[in-house]
């Protein structure tokens, strides 16, 4: 055991932490969970193959509602992926040390969702077989090209941000993880890059992490701003907005924080990590979520109040449908349950206890998904040239069962990736936690 720590007390503690945070095999519940997700994905894949064969006609999208829940889902994935940059970059740079146990969770969420964002876009394509055209004939004037560039960049940086802090942990796993299978062990060994706690190695690692943390911020802003431009660069009422970039980014940070809270709660329960993901963490995350929600609320007011005040002809049909029309129940539920109530509840200390936080986080996530639905879909039913002589079903987009299922299976797929990554790697950074504990013992508080 190479990195056995000498001081008796701290040595025990280190061992304890290492043991606590080691990835563990699935329990019964874990197996059921994985099986269910796998089945959902398999059926989704079956439907997708059907979609490839018979075309997007198996969805409810038609000429007017030409973008549907696939795109809404894409925006949702992009949004939630922003959490990685929030936790591991913004909080890191602002010196919030309490974030340490949350970084791994958020990076895993980020990687999984950005992967699926890319996948969902392919699912939405009419000709996925021509995907290579996007590279071969790339037109630099198109926001889609920008999106392809920025998504792949963000994916690479997120992977690095997941991987680099993982290296010391991988070394620990390489040295201490005995009960895994052989391939698992080999994986750790290869990925650990021969980490030996050499000061030079640590220096390089720390520096690289720092650089990445800075680098990911503009890219993260870029990815969601460009995604918002897919809408804002068109002339459509409801999308034709200068507010869209910051509106999307603030919404993304909010749902990202929600995602981390939900994951924290589940991992804490599943792996009994109460000592590491403490009530204090929930409290901080709750405060952070309130802050982010308030920012989002501000942008929402901008986004809806200003055009509603003017009520330009094209906008008014859209806004009236949202406020009083067929989308109003969804619209108001999303605004109230997905934003207002979370803000109110999290304002109170009692609301920031783990369980209420978990419920709120789920509300935020579900609300955020439907918010993306409300951003993408209603606009398309208000073209400038009236939509007449079209079948009734074209006028009211209601996704088909298969479309829902394919969408659902991408969500399941993302969860599956999160589950596997947490099965393979410590969900809470071991090395960093040890480091912090030691720092704390020497008088530097961790949770400040």
């Amino acid at each position: 055991m190479r990195n056995k720590v000498t001081t008796k007390a701290s040595g025990d503690r280190t061992d304890a932490i290492t043991m606590d945070l080691m990835p563990r095999p699935f329990g019964r519940l874990g197996h059921i969970w994985v099986a269910v997700l796998l089945i959902i994905c398999a059926i989704g894949l079956y439907f997708y193959i059907e979609q490839i064969r018979y075309g997007l006609g198996i969805t409810a999208m038609r000429d007017y509602s030409t973008w549907g829940i696939y795109i809404a889902n894409f925006v949702f994935f992009v949004a939630i992926s922003l959490v990685g940059s929030l936790m591991s970059a913004i909080l890191k740079l602002s010196g919030a040390h309490w974030r340490t146990p949350l970084t791994r969770i958020s990076e895993i969420i980020a990687v999984a969702s950005i992967l699926f964002a890319a996948l969902v876009i392919v699912v939405d394509m009419g000709r996925p077989d021509r995907f290579m055209n996007v590279l071969l004939h790339a037109r630099i004037q198109s926001p889609i090209t920008w999106d392809v560039i920025v998504i792949s960049t963000y994916l690479v940086i997120s992977l690095l941000l997941l991987y680099l802090p993982l290296i010391p942990d991988l070394a620990i796993l390489r040295d201490h993880h005995k009960d895994g299978s052989k391939w698992q062990h080999n994986l750790y060994k290869v990925l650990a890059l021969g980490w030996s706690h050499h000061p030079e190695q640590e220096k390089i690692l720390r520096r690289s992490e720092q650089i990445l943390a800075i680098l990911i911020i503009p890219v993260a802003f870029g990815i969601h701003t460009v995604t918002s431009w897919l809408f804002a660069t068109t002339l459509r009422p409801g999308w034709d907005s200068n507010n869209f970039g910051p509106y999307f980014i603030s919404g993304a940070f909010m749902v990202g924080a929600g995602g981390v809270i939900a994951a924290m709660y589940i991992f804490r329960k599943a792996y009994s990590l109460d000592n590491y993901l403490t009530d204090k963490h929930f409290d901080y995350m709750g405060k952070l979520l309130v802050l982010l929600s308030l920012v989002y609320l501000y942008f929402n007011i901008n986004e809806y109040f200003v055009p509603a005040y003017k009520m330009k002809a094209a906008e008014s049909a859209h806004l009236k449908q949202l406020f009083f029309g067929s989308y109003s129940p969804l619209f108001w539920s999303v605004q109230i349950f997905g934003m207002v109530i979370p803000i109110l509840v999290l304002m109170f200390r009692r609301g920031r206890k783990p369980f209420p936080m978990f419920v709120i986080a789920i509300m935020v996530i579900v609300g955020a998904w439907f918010k993306r639905f409300l951003i993408v879909i209603p606009t398309l039913s208000h073209p400038f040239i009236p939509m007449t002589r079209v079948p009734e079903s074209w006028q009211h987009y209601m996704p088909t069962f298969k479309e829902w299922w394919i969408t659902g299976s991408t969500l399941a797929g993302a969860l599956l990736i999160i589950t596997f990554l947490s099965r393979l790697f410590p969900i809470i950074p071991i090395a960093e936690t040890i480091e912090h504990e030691e720092a704390a013992r020497k008088g530097k508080p961790i949770l400040d």
Binding site: R2, I140, L160, L193, W195, S196, H198, E200, Q201, L215
Partner: protein, 317 residues
């Protein structure tokens, strides 16, 4: 490809379709109404538009358009065999056979030497007969016209541009005499039709002449060429007579330079420079850093090979 488009932009089809009907004779459908025992409904009438066209004093053309009203809509009839005769329908008088095209049009250019069949006053009779088909009965139409000499010349003096027309025809004795009181239309040839030079047609004077000023400012081809067309339309004696000339009286065409501009809506090859610059700078900048980081991780793995000692042990002493 160029030669096709250049020749085609001036096709006979569009040039003559524009003219209003010359001879419009309804079908003699009842004549062939013999299949009384047929269970089929009555055959629809085929209506023929038959006209005589004389172009640039040289070319004489017979043109026939076949149409039928089917299901309440007038439709051009394609593939109808038409036989053109002079004087009367008779094997000996057969001029030629042409089938109608997609537009129901059959055109026959009269061969040189057809003049010898003209009467003393230069008049002709032409007959067109269609073959009966499953759908239509045979129809025959005729047109009587007189030969004329119709000429146009163009002049430019002291930047006054003028179009001169003269019209002559044979009198009963066979002498060429000017013809007055005939309406002459002046046009500029455009892609899909003839643009009238003036609102009202000109009329020939007792010398059979017309002089009209040309003051229109209009675009020509890249060299400034225009085709000016003078026409007598649907004349009861002369039928359709036309004369056209090409002249550099147009404004030379200048292609809109905006088309090859580097714009957001241009092709990928014409992307705006600033966009290429911005995107590439950002790409190089960010990916440069990423590559640097990758190199750093490679360095980490290298260090382990240099030192396998675990320095952490000393760290806490």
């Amino acid at each position: 490809m160029k030669f096709i488009t250049t020749n085609i932009k001036n096709p006979w089809v569009s040039r003559f379709l524009m003219a209003t009907a010359v001879v419009f004779l309804m079908a003699f459908s009842a004549v062939a109404q013999t299949e009384s025992d047929s269970t089929e409904a009555e055959k629809p009438d085929l209506s023929l538009e038959f006209r005589y066209i004389e172009a640039n004093n040289k070319t004489k053309i017979l043109e026939l358009i076949a149409k039928a009203k089917l299901e309440g809509i007038w439709q051009s009839q394609k593939g109808i065999q038409v036989h053109f005769y002079r004087d009367a329908e008779d094997e000996a008088n057969l001029l030629g056979n042409v089938a109608t095209d997609d537009h129901g049009l059959a055109r026959y250019i009269l061969p040189e030497g057809v003049e010898k069949y003209a009467g003393a006053g230069g008049e002709y009779t032409f007959v067109a007969v269609t073959d009966g088909t499953e759908q239509f009965d045979p129809v025959s139409v005729e047109v009587i016209v007189a030969e004329s000499s119709f000429e146009m010349s163009l002049s430019e003096e002291d930047s006054v541009r003028q179009v001169h027309i003269s019209l002559q025809a044979l009198d009963a004795e066979g002498n060429e005499v000017p013809v007055g009181e005939v309406e002459v239309h002046l046009y500029i040839q455009r892609l899909f039709g003839l643009l009238p030079l003036s609102e009202d047609p000109e009329t020939t004077d007792e010398n059979g002449e017309v002089t009209a000023d040309f003051s229109t400012v209009i675009g020509g081809d890249t060299a400034g060429n225009l085709i000016i067309v003078a026409k007598i339309e649907d004349h009861e004696r002369f039928g359709n007579v036309e004369f056209q000339r090409k002249i550099k009286w147009g404004t030379p065409l200048i292609i809109d330079p905006n088309l090859s501009a580097r714009e957001l809506w241009s092709s990928r090859a014409n992307a705006p420079i600033y966009l290429i610059a911005i995107v590439n700078t950002m790409l190089i900048g960010i990916w440069g850093v990423i590559l640097y980081i990758l190199f750093q991780t490679y360095k980490i793995s290298k260090i382990s090979k240099v030192s396998t000692r675990s320095p952490k042990l000393e760290k806490h002493h």
